[in-house]
Amino acid sequence: MQTEIKEFIQREILKDSGRDIASDEALISSGLIDSFSLVDIALFVEESYGVRIDDAELSTETFDTLAELAALVEQRR
């Protein structure tokens, strides 16, 4: 799942499939993913795994890395 989310971020948000993302790399606080793309992540996770991330949860307080995001989705499935 982490790989799928990573590929989505590379393809749809960064538009750069060659840009690797480490599982513990900061996504939001580093500015890699800007606030305009947060909702894309919520939409992707919901479509792919049927897990809803609430609007209010789209911040570093809930997740900031691939590992944390995958864990959050796993926990709610």
Binding site: I28, S30, G31, L32, D34, S35, F36, L43, D55
Partner: protein, 562 residues
């Protein structure tokens, strides 16, 4: 709706509190429930800050900087400053991605130029403030929101702002970044009230209107159209936080539906954003038929964005006639033109090549490569427009030139920057730095003379980004350029950076690209989409050694495409 009989904003607030004490001024949307703010409560809350400024010994006319999130205290602190006669400037709060060091630097330079007497912020922010070198600065007082009482015994005799004169400066507006923060647009009571009068008439605004806004108050569109206009003209305002909107864009549609919203201002990217990022499920039961104008403003307006927005929301009641446009800038308080209110928006289909090469917008026929340019509408009543050539001579219809304007809502000055003021205003005409043409009495915007990048309605100065890139080890000092490239899919500009570096290895180049990306993310309000490393000597410089951004952009697009 109130007609403007008062000649200053504090006097108008007093009048409103007297006439409409129990009327709802603002429906402030919060996560859990709406907070309804009547005019009486607005004044009551603002009085707390008026008193606080008084007790801190802040004098009339002294600037105060407000650094608060989009919460109720921001509104109270802003109007509190106005009631006291102090001059508020709202600065964006530190975001997650921005590096605190860079933010402190910006704040430091804002303080140096603006020389504020006080700063209003949260206790949480105290550590940041403590790190700024304040000795020798003008700041005498830091007011923390948490230290303020819920209410104070107060009456209008304490409102020193009532002594303000119409020509006095009432607020400062800044755009972001080091450059923007050094250019505070100083606006007088009179200029703002003149704007509200002319603009409300262009909008056919009435007391039946309901304005819905998610725009930040540190931006002119948010502060004037989405805040002062409705509040001061007694038109109901439904206000939500930009932070929440960007995570849940459907909230805008729900708010319009729930409150019978009639007017909303959006930057162009928001049309694409709403179209693509709202689930059907979140629109269940939503009715947008009350929307009489959705006004595209503050970045280049695209016909394609309007079309996609209309086809996405038509089935929810959005009417084609609601699509409207406006050309605006803080230097004219806000609006310069308004289109699409009295009649459907004029769309001018012109030859694409004519916009850049011929300096005149030539109508195109079906077999040519054309572009549909949206009209920004005719000028509002108090503002005159001229399209001028390089020598300042007025140009005929359809000829492209720089847009200059004149009127009674122009800025008083760039605050404490007589140099910049003198450069921009001559004989009462303000040169906007934007390019456009007139046709049938309406203005069409085609580009910018100043090399500003606009991302999501936010003005970004390329020199700020270049300064950030310059600091990356391995980049030749002074050999980096930044520019914007319009992205059709998202309806706004992407940021591109080209920097010179002698490639030793791919690994090293990759590292520099990563460092540039991170430095821009944490050092500015944007993220870079394209980062291109080129060899020494690639960049084009002007004869004076200055940065030729437009030429480099062209070269970049030619060699690397996007």
């Amino acid at each position: 709706m109130t007609s403007l009989t008062s000649s200053t904003i504090p006097a108008l607030l007093k009048e409103l509190e007297h006439q409409a004490a129990d009327e709802i001024a603002i429906v402030f949307q919060q996560k859990d429930q709406d907070k309804l703010l009547t005019y009486a409560e607005l004044v009551r809350r603002s009085a707390v800050y008026c008193r606080a400024f008084e007790q801190a010994g802040i004098a009339s006319g002294e600037p105060v900087i407000i650094i608060l999130d989009h919460r109720l205290e921001l509104i109270s602190a802003f109007f509190g400053a106005v009631l006291h006669g102090a001059v508020p400037a709202i600065m964006p709060f530190l975001t997650e991605k921005l590096s605190p060091e860079r933010y402190r630097e910006s704040l430091g330079s804002l303080i140096e130029i603006t020389e504020p007497s006080a700063l209003v912020t949260y206790r949480d922010f105290q550590d940041e403030i403590d790190k700024i070198e304040l000795s020798g600065s003008s700041l005498r007082s830091i007011l923390y929101v948490e230290d303020q009482p819920a209410s104070v015994e107060w009456d209008w005799t304490e409102a020193a702002g009532l002594n303000s004169q119409p020509e006095d400066i009432v607020l400062l507006q800044h755009s972001s970044g080091t450059t923007g923060l050094q250019k505070g647009v100083a606006l007088s009571h009179q200029a703002i009230l003149n704007q509200l009068e002319a603009y409300s008439s262009a909008l056919n605004l009435t007391g039946m209107d309901v304005i819905v806004s998610w725009l930040p108050l540190y931006h002119d569109m948010g502060l004037i159209a989405g805040f002062l206009l409705p509040i001061l003209l007694r038109v109901k305002l439904v206000l939500m936080s930009p932070f929440e909107w960007v995570r849940a864009p459907y909230r805008l549609m729900r708010a319009v539906s729930e409150h019978g919203g009639t007017l909303t201002w959006l930057p162009n990217f928001a049309y694409n954003f709403c179209t693509k990022k709202i689930r059907d499920r979140d629109l269940e039961g939503v009715d947008l038929s009350t929307w009489r104008a959705v006004i595209n403003c503050s970045e280049p307006m695209r016909w394609e964005s309007h079309e996609m927005f209309l086809s996405r929301f038509e089935s929810y009641g959005l009417q084609a006639s609601a699509l409207a446009t406006c050309y605006a800038m803080a230097e004219n308080v806000f609006a310069v033109t308004q289109g699409g209110i009295e009649a459907p928006l004029l769309v001018d289909e012109v030859r694409r090549s004519s916009l850049s090469g011929e300096r005149a917008a030539r109508p195109g026929s079906a077999d040519e490569d054309t572009v549909k340019v949206l009209s920004a509408g005719p000028p509002i009543a108090n503002t005159e427009i001229r399209v001028i050539d390089d020598e300042g001579r007025p140009l005929p219809e359809r000829a492209i030139g720089e847009i200059a304007l004149r009127g009674d809502s122009l800025l008083s000055e760039y605050y404490k920057r007589p140099d910049l003021t003198a450069k921009s205003v001559s004989n009462g005409w303000y040169k906007t730095g934007d390019l456009g043409y007139m046709y049938r009495g309406e203005l069409f915007i085609t580009g910018r003379a100043k090399e500003l990048i606009i991302v999501g309605g936010k003005n970004i100065y390329p020199q700020d980004l270049e300064a950030i890139v310059d600091e990356i080890p391995g980049v030749y000092p002074g050999r980096a350029v930044a520019f914007g490239i319009f992205n059709e899919a998202i309806g706004t500009e992407d940021v591109a950076v080209v920097a010179e570096h002698d490639e030793d290895s791919q690994a090293e180049t990759d590292l520099i690209v990563r460092q540039i990306r991170a430095a821009i993310a944490t050092g500015s309000d944007v993220t870079a989409r394209y980062i291109q490393i080129v060899e020494r000597g690639w960049l084009i410089k002007t004869s004076s050694g200055k940065n030729a951004r437009a030429a480099n952009k062209e070269k970049f697009l030619l060699e690397f495409g996007t």
